[in-house]
Symmetry: C2
Subunit: 570 residues, 2 copies
Amino acid sequence: MPKLAVREFGAVEASEGETLLEALRRAGVPVAAACGGLGLCGLCRVRVLQGDLSEPTPREVELLGQQLKNGWRLACQARALGNASVEVPLRRFLAKFRVRPTARITSPALFVPFDASEGEPSYEELLLETLRKAGVEARSASLSALNVLSSRPSGVAVVVEGEVIDVTDSYSGYGLAVDVGTTSVAASLIDLVSGALVAEAATLNAQLKFGADIVSRIRHAIAEPDGVRQLREAVIGTVNELLSKLGAPPGRVYRVTVAGNSVMLHLFFGVNPRPLGYLPFRPVYRRSLTARGRELGLNVHPHALVESLPILGGYVGGDVVGDLLTAKLWEYGTAMLIDVGTNGEIVIKKGGEYVAASTPAGPAFEGVGLHSGMMAIDGAIERVRLRGGGEPEYSVIGGGEARGICGSGYIDLLAELLRAGLLSRDGRLARGPRVRELNGALAYVIDEERGIALTQQDVRKLQLAIGAVKLAAKFLMRKVGVSAEDLERVVVAGDFGYHLDARNAMEVGLLPKVDESSVEYIGNGSLTGAELYMVSQDCRRLALELATECKVLDVPRDTHSFIAELKLGW
Amino acid sequence: MPKLAVREFGAVEASEGETLLEALRRAGVPVAAACGGLGLCGLCRVRVLQGDLSEPTPREVELLGQQLKNGWRLACQARALGNASVEVPLRRFLAKFRVRPTARITSPALFVPFDASEGEPSYEELLLETLRKAGVEARSASLSALNVLSSRPSGVAVVVEGEVIDVTDSYSGYGLAVDVGTTSVAASLIDLVSGALVAEAATLNAQLKFGADIVSRIRHAIAEPDGVRQLREAVIGTVNELLSKLGAPPGRVYRVTVAGNSVMLHLFFGVNPRPLGYLPFRPVYRRSLTARGRELGLNVHPHALVESLPILGGYVGGDVVGDLLTAKLWEYGTAMLIDVGTNGEIVIKKGGEYVAASTPAGPAFEGVGLHSGMMAIDGAIERVRLRGGGEPEYSVIGGGEARGICGSGYIDLLAELLRAGLLSRDGRLARGPRVRELNGALAYVIDEERGIALTQQDVRKLQLAIGAVKLAAKFLMRKVGVSAEDLERVVVAGDFGYHLDARNAMEVGLLPKVDESSVEYIGNGSLTGAELYMVSQDCRRLALELATECKVLDVPRDTHSFIAELKLGW
């Protein structure tokens, strides 16, 4: 098979006779190709430094002319016959951002030149006929595209999922991928011409004014007559704030893809999440919803296609689907995904079978309700090690003075205290160095002066959180007949994930005991998943398949088995 | 074949074994049947006074109980085996309005009871599954239906064209049929449960403030940066005014069907009609557009399905498609439709072939620009006869004193003057009784005191208008090889139509010379057509077929042939 050496990207495998565009996009290299590879726009120019490629086509001769002599080729026309060395000219702004080569990029929008100014019987029909002749099937034009078409009967048609959304004069447009979290909302701007990431931004979810957690949001939606509208407008306002931060020209944003937990997705589309507030916690809908930009009040093109990742069921939402796309769980025979947060979600794959469950871990992992707990921001102790004798060594996010402890710091601390014999498996602190009485109970004190400590009560809360995750994970593993040794891969998602020490997580029982090298951290897999859903038809298809195949199970929570799981360790 | 004698409607033919509902709806009798004939709602009760019908089904036993003994049956369950005499209980309000038995009524909306409160995996999926089991295929629920479903997991689902638009608690809903005219807008409220007409209303188009005719509207749309929005909001405001006049509960209006000329349809959906202002007068689009109630700003259900009748091409718009549905032109081998107005439209059918053309007749037929011209409202002379010696006898709309002459009065006058020898075929008034000099030219004076007269200049303008229609009609007839004798039917549409005297219209050459009994008047066929498009799938299918089959031709307007057509008479 021909190998392409791509400058700044590395090696890419091509099938013999495959176009460079296909090979590059399959490897996730974002190549500008407005027309999607029809040889119309000429944007997919790459420079071939050396190698064995097909002869230039008439389209290349027409669009490149003299440039052919200097090695320029159209990636959509040139075919790999043997090895070659290629340079892909990313536009300037793309260079600033990382490239994410995780899935085959397909055109999330097509920009096709057309001329409908002459002929019968109507502008729209002439436009669609031109597209058809160019190989692009579009069923209709949006109302706003028709209105523009009226005074611009020739130009560039912007086609998204078979509809002409806009008629414009240049090959440019953006997509917005969004992860709507209960606490914060993150978004990335995607260049629709290449599928590349342009910029990222995050901010707090304005719904926070209606309560910090999911339950208070549901309560607000149920109790207030106008609650759903208020919650919807709050999150839409947050996304609009991100759009403006990202500097996206509103009229040029043609796609929005939204991931998030079940409740957040319901509220984003103005659907009351009421049934998720009561047993048996069922969602109102599960499918990928679609709407128009204007309909939802987003500052994007009025007819932009807004769509959500499907919900798997109950509290296992579109965020988990995003995680799964990012984790590529299907590449392993047996694997586990664990998204740790206030609500934990676990998915196990075994062969073609997927099972999932959610579990209410509580806010302890986010530092909420603990004596010195805080979020994973500047000033938080994120890593802890105990030297011989129990003296703590720690690192602080941002490098300044410690102000508290975040989730990963607590996991480290518990593991190290277990190893030092200062903590028993059933969660009792033992007297020893730095263990003192605090408000009538024992506490391990890290910083006397600033009052940073782990109290006996903190340990209990962390045991409950870890126990909830463990209970669900073990339940699912039993259900499909998988033991820890069977797991080829354990993927940890959630912001918590990047900082977590796998060995310590296993020690306390948050993760099953597997080889450390099998543990992978994907960070905000929900946002990455939303991006993949937008730029890759493969990922979109996989997500929809997962939505029908993955079984969501209720974890039986009888007191007896739960108490058994409170013991630290797997 | 069994015959049904239907009280207050007359005889209806049924096929043997056909349900009464099918037979009655095919004959255009509006029978309340919320669930569309699935035996679920029980609303299609009819009383069978005598006759040969199938045995009661289990559904009838369950829903009717003791009523069966008194002759009550469910029309959707009872099948005609022989002749029968039937009484259809129309709801009280329906009795006030005429019934329009012109097409097979199919359910324009289905109201299906459901219960999604128990089970997996989501409310929406349970709802759709219930519908499927009842025999109703729906692909999804609208965002607003999902929101309601959240707190009302059982009730009645309102299904329009395969989508659950709303979830409600009763079997009731309305549709609005609209004819958007350049001058006035007419609307009728349709009961979606039965397909019956509930109420009608009309008012002036608020776009009039931007100019009286089509050309000034186009000019406004082109010249003003915000012109299209202003024009759209004006006509939407007019329709909202009609909705309120009709007393339709906004949240219960689930369908809106719009007919109108090409320019009016463009503006209704916010599409700039610019290309219709320039040669070769092509529309931006032709298909049946669809949108949502909220999207367009209509005071109807936010997710109501709004749709337009297709445009045939150029100036031959959705109003003409409505005329064709009303006229049922397909029932004749060879026929002509003529819609007379400021813009005249003509369609000729020959076998399976349809050809159409529009022709700019000018506003003379509406009384505009003539010495004593006025619209066909109270005070207008609508019929004229000359007694021997040329003395006029006339009737006035409303019966009061004459204030002027409307279109049909002018046609009568021209024809009678021709017969009396006071007017030559080439349009010259001759001296004689009541013909006097007025401002330096001859005029036929009807009422000396009030100054009501037909001037020589009026005759010229009427000749131009008649000539334009005649030129187009003859052109089309030549194109398909049809002579006046071949025409089995000549259908006259437009408000002008009801008042027009066929014999006189033939005398002056506005209509080809056919047997008077072949001439039919359908009035506002555009509005009736919009109603039919909503309540009858047959009509909808025919309209879409016509849109692809009917050829719209440009009438060559060389001066020579036009001058030839100025001669009065065919």
